[in-house]
């Protein structure tokens, strides 16, 4: 930016205004137009939110939004799941953050936010205590992750994988726990679960498809290409329809698949094709010399791919893969169209109740905020991770 010598003499705040908002006549015009627009928009939103909106629909149905019809006596299980997931998340966050983030100031901000949430959220005492415990776990996990990052890092992915069946067991029950049928898994719980399961399952399939597509065996290559291109040519809702309606037709009559399982199958089939293309990009970025070097060391093709090529390829496409995860998380909302009661589905069913008729804006803004928080934090985390790996 060209700095005006005059502005450097002036008050630095004025200089900033001059450089950033009023540098030329059309910039000044733009600034004025933007200010008018912003003012109008904020006024509109503010008056709506304080006078017309009835936030009771959120307050009354908060539980429904979060866990739906999950039996109330078993809430402790969802709390434990949340505790496990947030502790692991915090530890991983600690391991991958290089900067010493645990300053007094961040601590104060963290404590303030937790305190504020504990006060304003319409929860009972037990939920508040659980939240407090989770906040402490978050804090401790982050600290542990940061202090012992060298020791923990190699085990992290293994622990995540191990936590997965435990979480499923806690939610679904069985093996000594009271079982909860899948039609009672609703709301945000179902959204998170579907996204996590589909991501975990579609990743290996996607990698296999990508290897298939770049393989020099023509038959395997053509099968992979066919699969990837057909799936990418169809809208997701078509694939979900296929999974809900056609899958039972393709399976023999004595195999009955749960609605949730069919939906997961659809999401995985869909996501794997896109994942494959992302991974292919990474595979193409690996110089041939790497494979040749590995072969020269006496590794066979399989080992060379697993030990040399894939780790580099996956690392190169981390942003694309996280983007894919974000897309998948958003796409779970389509499950409401095939009859699943995830976050969007529960919003639709709440809005169908006579006492909340017409409260669309409030409910949709609220669940929009939930989606946004998850997606935005994923993209922030991916950017940070990328910077970390480039160093």
């Amino acid at each position: 930016m060209t700095s005006n010598p005059k502005s450097q003499i002036q008050n630095p705040k004025l200089a900033w205004l001059r450089n950033n908002l009023f540098s030329t006549w059309y910039n000044s015009l733009l600034t004025v137009v933007c200010l008018v627009f912003l003012f109008w928009l904020l006024l509109l939103i503010f008056t709506w939110a304080t006078t017309k909106a009835q936030w009771g629909v959120i307050q009354v149905n908060l539980r429904l939004f979060l866990v739906g019809r999950f039996p109330q006596t078993l809430y402790w299980r969802t709390w434990i799941v949340l505790a496990i997931a947030s502790t692991l998340g915090a530890v991983s966050g600690g391991v991958f953050s290089s900067k010493q983030l645990l300053t007094k100031r961040t601590l104060a901000v963290f404590a303030f936010i937790v305190g504020l949430l504990l006060i304003i959220l319409p929860l009972d005492l037990i939920s508040r205590l659980w939240l407090l415990l989770i906040a402490v776990l978050l804090f401790a996990g982050f600290g542990i992750g940061q202090t012992f990052s060298q020791v923990i890092a190699p085990w992290l992915s293994l622990v995540w994988l191990l936590s997965f069946p435990i979480i499923l067991w806690l939610i679904g029950g069985g093996f000594g726990l009271q079982s909860v049928p899948t039609d009672l898994w609703n709301g945000l719980l179902l959204t998170l679960l579907m996204a996590a399961v589909s991501i975990v399952l579609s990743f290996p399939i996607g990698v296999l498809l990508a290897l298939g597509r770049t393989s020099n065996l023509p038959v395997i290559r053509w099968f992979s290409i066919l699969y990837i291109e057909i799936v990418r040519g169809l809208p997701l809702i078509g694939i979900l329809f296929l999974a809900q309606v056609m899958l039972p037709l393709f399976l023999s009559a004595d195999v009955r698949l749960d609605r949730v399982v069919r939906a997961i199958a659809g999401l995985v089939l869909f996501s794997a094709a896109y994942m494959a293309e992302n991974v292919r990009g990474g595979l193409q970025a690996i110089p041939r010399g790497q494979i040749e070097a590995a072969k020269a060391l006496g590794l066979n093709t399989l080992l060379a791919v697993i030990l040399i090529v894939l780790p580099q390829a996956l690392r190169a496409v981390i942003p694309a893969i996280v983007g894919q995860f974000i897309g998948l998380f958003k796409d779970t909302s389509l499950l409401s169209l095939v009859g699943l009661v995830e976050l969007t589905g529960i919003a639709r069913s709440i809005l169908a109740q006579p006492q909340f008729l017409g409260r669309y804006a409030e409910a949709y803004l609220f669940i929009g905020l939930i989606y946004w928080v998850f997606c935005y934090s994923m993209s922030l985390a991916s950017r940070r991770l990328e910077r970390q790996l480039n160093n």
């Binding site: 600034t31 065996l217 056609m246 393709f250 935005y376």
Partner: protein, 308 residues
């Protein structure tokens, strides 16, 4: 020196061929099994595979049509109406989302702090929430809660906005169409903005400096020097955004706009022809995707650097 051949299981060529045969064999087995199940299940339901149902009377009404249609027409006519409705959404969506996306992408690089941050907030909000939710919001929270047609909001005297949609003096857009297209425009526009920003940033700094030293004003510099070069980076990902927009238009079913997916799904509900309907849908979207890809690839060729 004895020229003994290695045993066949140590020969890589053998395994390459055997592996492929195995893949073909396994795929064939799986497909035969699935096909067998399908036939058995369809037989139990009393359905025989075939496209004859397309000639039957559809007997459902379609909310908005560009060509003449009434419920006594055939299913194929109904699907045709749906396809035209889809095309209408796709064309309008692609056109306007390009305008929104390019403006927002350039806005992200503006030297005006306010413009830069407003576009940033726009991009981050619309990219990080589900499209379906945005469509539901536009339709139920915006269009349906507009005032009734009698006391419509008037914009600049000639555009009227009410529950019945957007009225221009010479035509009216239904609330379903308006909500769908607006949702698609702002959602896809946010993605296009990031693509455009990346494309512009990929143009070397020297090009800006050279343009400036030739005395070009910023607007002209962008139009004549920077943007044409940025297009080379922009077009391939832009094409996939156009494809996404076209496929995403199938979410019309959530707000009741009769696009091809909506009509196909009604057809399935009335006839139970899941296999045929899904095949038709696949073919339709495949053709749409192919058309977009071919057009964009032709355009792509014109902006690339001509090399010998």
């Amino acid at each position: 020196m004895t020229n003994s051949k290695p045993p066949i299981w140590r020969d890589q060529r053998f395994w390459r061929i055997a592996g492929q045969f195995l893949a073909v064999f396994l795929t064939a087995v799986v497909i035969t099994m699935l096909w067998g199940n399908l036939n058995r299940n369809l037989q139990q339901l009393g359905i025989q595979f075939g496209f004859n149902f397309l000639k039957q009377q559809a007997s459902f009404d379609i909310g908005e049509t560009l060509i003449r249609y009434n419920p006594s027409d055939t299913y194929s006519r109904a699907l045709w109406v749906g396809l035209i409705n889809s095309l209408r959404v796709a064309v309008a969506g692609i056109f306007f989302s390009t305008i929104v996306g390019v403006s927002a992408g350039i806005g992200r690089l503006s030297d005006n702090w306010l413009v830069r941050n407003i576009t940033l907030v726009y991009v981050e909000i619309f990219r990080n929430t589900p499209l379906l939710l945005q469509l539901l919001f536009w339709y139920f929270a915006v269009f349906i809660s507009f005032p009734k047609a009698e006391n419509k909001i008037s914009l600049w005297g000639f555009i009227g906005i009410s529950q019945n949609g957007v009225e221009f003096p010479w035509f009216t857009l239904s609330p379903e169409f308006s909500a769908l297209v607006l949702g698609l425009i702002f959602y896809t526009g946010a993605f296009i903005a990031e693509i455009v920003r990346g494309g512009i940033q990929s143009v070397p700094k020297g090009q800006w400096e050279a343009g400036r030293s030739l005395g070009l004003k910023p607007g002209l510099l962008m139009r004549l020097v920077i943007f044409p070069q940025a297009l080379r980076v922009i077009i391939p990902p832009l094409t996939s955004q156009y494809l996404n927009l076209t496929k995403n238009s199938s979410l019309a079913i959530a707000i009741g706009y009769p696009d091809v997916y909506f009509v196909a799904s009604t057809t399935y509900n009335q006839t139970g022809r899941a296999v045929e309907v899904i095949l038709l849908l696949m073919l339709t979207y495949l053709i749409l995707s192919l058309i977009i890809s071919v057009v964009m690839n032709l355009f792509n060729r014109t902006v690339q650097i001509p090399e010998r």
